[in-house]
């Protein structure tokens, strides 16, 4: 080991801690704001649904708003549970566990993706059923689903360029750690 540790210029600790604390506060603030937004939107939809029920509005409109409400709730819960998981990697886990979690995190299709798909379909159903919004059913499918599919394609391209190499590297390290009974450890 090089003993040039003494040459390492000291990090400005006060500044670092202050930045880290600021980031923690920003995270907590953003997380809270997003959750408040989802819960407020949900309450508004509940309020509208209740008014519609007592106002003898057509049942299809009510179902449309219930779809919006569930979509909002699913988005809110997904954000609450997964934002931190994606923002911060826990480096204090055993290396093998960390790598396996990284490989899973960068998997393009996961079980929780289905929840996001479900909420997108609920928004589609909400837009389609709530004809009071004045949207044409066919155009909703063309534009809304078109935008969803296009976003998914762009997301996959970004994943392929940025995250697939990270996932491949993590998988390769996992194979190396797990494969103790072969000689892959040496690059010869």
């Amino acid at each position: 080991m090089t003993m040039n540790n003494e040459q390492v210029e000291p990090v400005n600790l006060d500044k670092l801690i202050s930045n880290l604390k600021k980031e923690d506060e920003q995270y907590a603030g953003l997380s809270k704001r997003m959750q408040y937004l989802y819960w407020i939107m949900s309450l508004i939809f509940i309020f509208v649904i209740v008014i519609q029920i007592f106002g003898k509005v057509h049942v299809v409109y009510i179902i449309g708003n219930i779809c919006f409400l569930f979509a909002m709730l699913i988005f809110g819960l997904l954000f609450k549970y997964y934002y931190r998981e994606y923002k911060y990697v826990d480096y204090s886990q055993p290396t093998l566990v960390m790598l396996k979690k990284a490989a899973y995190r960068y998997k393009p299709f996961q079980l929780k993706t289905l929840w996001a798909v479900l909420s997108l379909l609920l928004v589609d159903a909400g837009l389609s059923l709530n004809t009071s919004l004045g949207f044409n059913f066919i155009w909703i499918q063309v534009f809304y689903l078109g935008i969803v599919v296009l976003s998914a394609i762009i997301g996959l391209l970004i994943w392929r360029a940025r995250y697939k190499p990270v996932r491949d590297a993590a998988l390769s390290l996992i194979r190396e750690i797990d494969g103790e009974n072969n000689d892959r450890g040496f690059k010869h």
């Binding site: 080991m1 210029e9 600790l13 670092l16 480096y91 204090s92 093998l96 566990v97 190396e176």
Partner: protein, 174 residues
């Protein structure tokens, strides 16, 4: 009860040198060492909320340092270097033989060792860096997340390989 900042400062005060040493293993360049050191500190801060005392503080710190080293170079894992020098305290344990120590301090052989170490895979480099820190097989196993016997097998294989390469002799693998 210590708040997060006090806990962080306490951990840093007790482990600063250890973290710097680990950073030194993976970077020959002082600026890179400094960047990685800062990266480790950030990861310690972000992992502090998850520390429940299930593992010792030593193991916890080494995990963060090694995991940061693995992630530090991003996709360029394979370019990660392991830097050793003659004054590395536990260098003789790599070859398991007191007689080699004198030879190793000779620049030529040290350079050979350096080259061979850098031909090792990333995980093997991480294992060697922990061994150079004087950690037990059990501690290394806790850090990497594999069994103690698995660590022994891997380190034995690395040592055998290095001996073979440095002495030019053939050592039979088990």
């Amino acid at each position: 009860m210590l708040d997060k900042e006090e806990k962080f400062n306490q951990i840093l005060a007790e482990n600063k040198d250890r973290i710097k040493r680990i950073c030194g293993y993976y970077n020959s360049n002082v600026n890179d060492q400094k960047d990685m050191y800062q990266e480790v500190l950030v990861n310690i801060w972000n992992s502090l909320d998850n520390f429940r005392g299930d593992s010792s503080m030593n193991t916890w710190i080494y995990r963060i340092a090694v995991n940061t080293a693995l992630r530090y170079t991003g996709n360029a894992y394979k370019h990660m270097k392991l830097i050793v020098n003659a004054d590395t305290q536990n260098l003789s344990t790599v070859l398991d033989d007191e007689n080699y120590e004198d030879k190793l301090v000779m620049e030529k052989q040290l350079s050979g060792l350096q080259n061979e170490l850098n031909l090792l895979s990333v995980i093997d480099k991480a294992l060697i860096s922990l061994m150079l820190e004087g950690l037990s097989m059990k501690e290394i196993a806790d850090i990497i997340g594999i069994t103690e016997s698995n660590v022994k097998v891997k380190i034995h294989r690395i040592k055998t390989h290095l001996k073979t390469k440095l002495t030019g002799q053939r050592y039979d693998n088990e």
